[in-house]
């Protein structure tokens, strides 16, 4: 008898714990439910609010459809893409080149690092008016703003990666009679790839910020320009569309870089797992 009485509460507790464990094991179901509830509540609660200040999911969806169909969104997207691509390319290639140079040549390091440190310390947004003054409102200005924001993590990570190459690895090259350039291309550079890729991933995120900042403050074009125009005309539903597109662009690019990063840095992750 006492056995049953003791057993009953445990059984009930067990059932509850089972449901919790099940939810814990299926995080995507919890996430999906959370998003659905959020959108449902938004749709229901925001319908009666003034469309000047608030909007709701189905209105955003209709707005997205409308500005895609009339060409506004695709045009803005392409207008953003061009300076973005140039700026990101310069940030990556230029950042790696600068990082390599200051890591390899002490003289360049001493010459350049006061300026790099100063630029890094100033919030780059504060430089935007100056950049506009010197580089103008068009593509050159936009690319310059973007690069000034996105290039630093690439420089810093490349530098750190090269400085972190273990003496033991360099000794292998020396012992086997590698030339200076062979040591650089066959040992130092591949050994720093994981660092450099982490820098590139950070640069992608910052480049998107740089793009939007540039479009806010220079010639009002692209996705950032859409945000400014729609907000000035209180087209709140439309305003959400470029914001969402920018978010999706960020997620897609970061995922892409992380995929490359995983492929190139696989040896490092596995090495870490082991030791």
């Amino acid at each position: 008898m006492s056995k049953v009485q003791q057993g009953l509460p445990t059984l009930e507790a067990g059932r509850g714990a089972g449901a919790v464990a099940w939810l814990k094991a299926h995080p995507n179901i919890v996430r999906a439910a959370s998003v659905i509830v959020f959108f449902g509540y938004w749709e229901w609660a925001a319908r009666d609010m003034s469309p000047l200040f608030m909007t709701y999911p189905s209105a955003i969806f209709r707005a997205a459809w409308a500005i895609t169909a009339n060409g506004e969104l695709p045009q803005a997207f392409l207008a953003s893409l061009w300076p973005f691509a140039i700026g990101l390319f310069i940030s990556i290639v230029g950042g790696i080149a600068l990082g390599v140079l200051i890591a390899q040549f002490w003289f360049l390091e001493y010459v350049l690092d006061p300026f790099l440190n100063a630029l890094y310390a100033i919030p780059r947004v504060a430089l935007v008016p100056l950049i506009i003054l010197w580089a103008g409102l068009e593509t050159t200005g936009k690319v310059t703003i973007l690069v000034s924001i996105a290039i630093f993590p690439v420089i810093i990570n490349t530098y750190a990666g090269i400085k972190d190459v273990r003496g033991g690895l360099l000794e292998i090259g020396k012992a086997y009679g590698a030339t200076e350039s062979q040591i650089f291309f066959k040992i130092i550079l591949p050994a720093s790839v994981p660092y450099i890729m982490a820098g590139v991933r950070l640069a992608v995120g910052l480049a998107i910020i740089g793009m939007v900042v540039a479009e806010f403050f220079t010639a009002i074009t692209g996705l950032g320009g859409l945000i400014v125009n729609y907000s000035n005309s209180f087209a709140t539903a439309k305003l959400f569309v470029p914001i969402i597109v920018i978010g999706l662009l960020g997620v897609a690019l970061t995922e892409f870089v992380m995929w490359i990063e995983r492929r190139l840095s696989r040896w490092r992750a596995l090495e870490r797992e082991r030791f």
Binding site: G168, I172, G177, K186, E273
Partner: protein, 280 residues
Amino acid sequence: MAGATVLDIAGGRPGADPTSAPPMVAVRNVTKRFRTRARSGEPDVMVALDRVSMDIDEGELVSLLGASGCGKTTLLRILAGLVKHDEGSVVVQGTTVREPRRDLCMVFQNFGLLPWRTVIANVAFPLELDRMGRAEREEVAARYIETVGLKGFERHYPHELSGGMQQRVGIARALTRKPLVLLMDEPFAALDAQTRESLQEDFLRIWKDLRTTVIFVTHSIDEALVMSDRVMIFTPRPGRLRRTIESPFGPDRVDRDVRALPDFARCRQEIRQMLREEPQ
């Protein structure tokens, strides 16, 4: 008195005969000093190697044995051309060693593999530095990978292999250039006892086939006795070559377990005694 020892203190050995071929490696009065900072902050000099001389014949496998800090690694790095010595000379096959040479190849204690390269790319690395074409160097590399018993692991990465297998890769890499002298710095010290013994056996067999000259650093008396034709005993502070001992087991130690021989324990005891001798 001399008859009481099993070990033959080298001197009258055939290699020292003036009519025979010149030695493969000739080390003459090599001295190496390091500047160190003493506790007072005053710069101080420590003598890592004090007038070390030795001759090593072609095809010989010689061990450098001694306690930690007696300059074994320093001597090996001087032989490899990685470190400059202060006095004396190092000549390998008639040419003075001044910088790393293609015909002197190193095997490292911590294996020294490039972790982002597969086994075959690691083994082919020296040939890649020599600008040999890809197909050709991979063919050579594959051959030596088979020699060290790693056939089938060509496309694996170092971290996918055990320590013993990684050092086999290190040995294969050193062999690809067909070196005159193989320099090995405690190559098996990082391995567990069983793996170490199987690598010792396999390496002796490879050495017997290839007949390369080998200089082998170790601080294990057993390993020195199992592996080498001659054992050179070093003592520290300053690093000096104390004694050179002929192996009592000769070339037929390969493929045989010399550890089981009655002489083995006595040799080991005598060497231990020598290592303990106070430097005069």
